[in-house]
């Protein structure tokens, strides 16, 4: 069961590349693998925890005020992540900057709370949070691997191709847009080929 769920989170319902949710942090923090991985894991933690709590209180909160309730729960976990990061990973915290508190307004988290956790039991919601978070993390890693290799000729801080000068534009803003456009086009091309549509 976990395997099927994992496939759903990473491939068929990939939050960034298929559902196109949470674009802002995914483009802004994919400048290096370290940042991408840090951001992905932070989002996964918040997503799993908030899904559990929301699923626990789903029968208590009145329907009309559910969105503000969800936001408070999410904001609480984001604050926890912020404090932990400041204490143990100060360098990563400086790199990610305002994008850590901005996890609050990440559409993936509110979207999963609304569409899944508010309707399902705790265990299922937790699993959904974990696989969706992993889907987010893998696509963020994919984007950041491409951008780090092309943009700074490094991978995880180690030199990649010796004697090749990096295309700095890929770690700047335009490169983010170009990378995600290419990745999405490739995915769509493969999808179309499977369906038998001519590209």
């Amino acid at each position: 069961m976990f395997k099927e769920e994992l496939k759903r989170g990473i491939i068929t319902e990939n939050p960034i590349l298929v559902l196109v949710l949470g674009l802002c942090p995914s483009l802004a923090t994919s400048t290096s693998v370290q940042n991408g991985l840090g951001m992905g894991l932070a989002v996964t933690f918040v997503l799993a925890c908030s899904n559990v709590i929301i699923s626990l209180i789903r029968k208590v909160i009145p329907d009309k005020v559910r969105i503000p309730c969800f936001i408070v729960v999410i904001a609480t976990f984001v604050t926890i992540v912020q404090l932990i990061m400041k204490a143990y990973l100060p360098d990563l915290d400086k790199q990610l900057g305002i994008y850590v508190p901005l996890i609050v307004v990440n559409c993936i988290i509110l979207g999963r709370a609304e569409a899944f956790a508010s309707k399902n039991n705790i265990f299922k919601s937790f699993l959904d949070g974990v696989v969706m978070g992993l889907g987010f993390t893998t696509s963020l890693c994919l984007l950041s691997i491409i951008r780090e290799i092309l943009g700074s000729n490094k991978l995880l801080g180690l030199n990649f191709f010796p004697g090749y000068s990096p295309m700095t534009v890929f770690i700047l803003a335009p490169g983010g847009f170009f990378t995600i456009a290419t990745v999405m086009a490739v995915i769509r091309y493969i999808g179309n080929r499977k369906k038998g549509v001519k590209a």
Partner: protein, 207 residues
């Protein structure tokens, strides 16, 4: 640095150099969602300027007189998002009552703005350490930064909407249709906006 120069520097910085969409990646969802028609892009842009101006002034006041006063700045994220959500709701109700014509124009875009990261982003930037003076912005500077970031957002949104209206009519390969071609367009615009980095008349202190 004299005061007037810093105000100009903040304005140009917010509109061109640190454009919210094209260099900071804030507010991408509405940027791709509402940029299909020029008319809806105008409505969304005006609504964002309006909410950002109000949100930056209110969050500044709350940060200064409540959070810092009682030494609970770690609650910033929770407090700011609640304040913004409440403000948007209030603005919506007030508009509906006092200015139905404006409500008609902006109405449907207002609820979307609560989850727009640009609004929370501008509040966090205002209260954080900024590059111009090394201190948090003053009240007036925050308000200006809010309005000007909104103007920058609207500028990018309008440019994108104009381009996308033309793109609708052109012949695009199947794999690139829809989002991928929009991303490439946005990337090209961001590339052009990189050129504005040279506009920094008043270099930041210590940098």
């Amino acid at each position: 640095m004299n005061n007037f120069a810093s105000l100009i520097s903040i304005s140009i910085g917010a509109v061109f150099i640190n454009n919210f969409i094209l260099s900071k990646f804030l507010g991408l969802c509405p940027f791709f969602g509402v940029s299909k028609k020029l008319s809806s892009a105008t409505g969304m842009g005006l609504a964002v300027i309006f909410v950002m101006a109000i949100a930056s002034s209110f969050t500044w006041i709350i940060n200064k007189f409540v959070l810092i006063q009682f030494d609970v700045t770690y609650l910033q994220t929770i407090v700011f998002i609640l304040v913004i959500a409440a403000l948007v709701q209030l603005v919506e109700m007030a508009l509906q009552k006092y200015s139905p014509s404006l409500y008609e124009a902006l109405g449907i875009y207002l609820p979307l703005i609560t989850t727009n990261c640009a609004v929370l982003g501008v509040a966090l930037i205002n209260t954080g350490v900024n590059t111009f003076s090394g201190k948090p912005y003053s009240f007036f500077e925050s308000l200006l930064n809010g309005v000007m970031s909104g103007v920058g957002f609207m500028l990018a949104l309008l440019l994108m909407a104009g381009l996308r209206e033309k793109l609708e009519l052109s012949d695009i390969p199947k794999t690139l249709e829809g989002l991928p071609i929009s991303f490439i367009t946005a990337g090209l615009m961001a590339l052009a906006f990189l050129g504005f980095a040279g506009l920094n008349f008043f270099p930041p202190i210590g940098g």
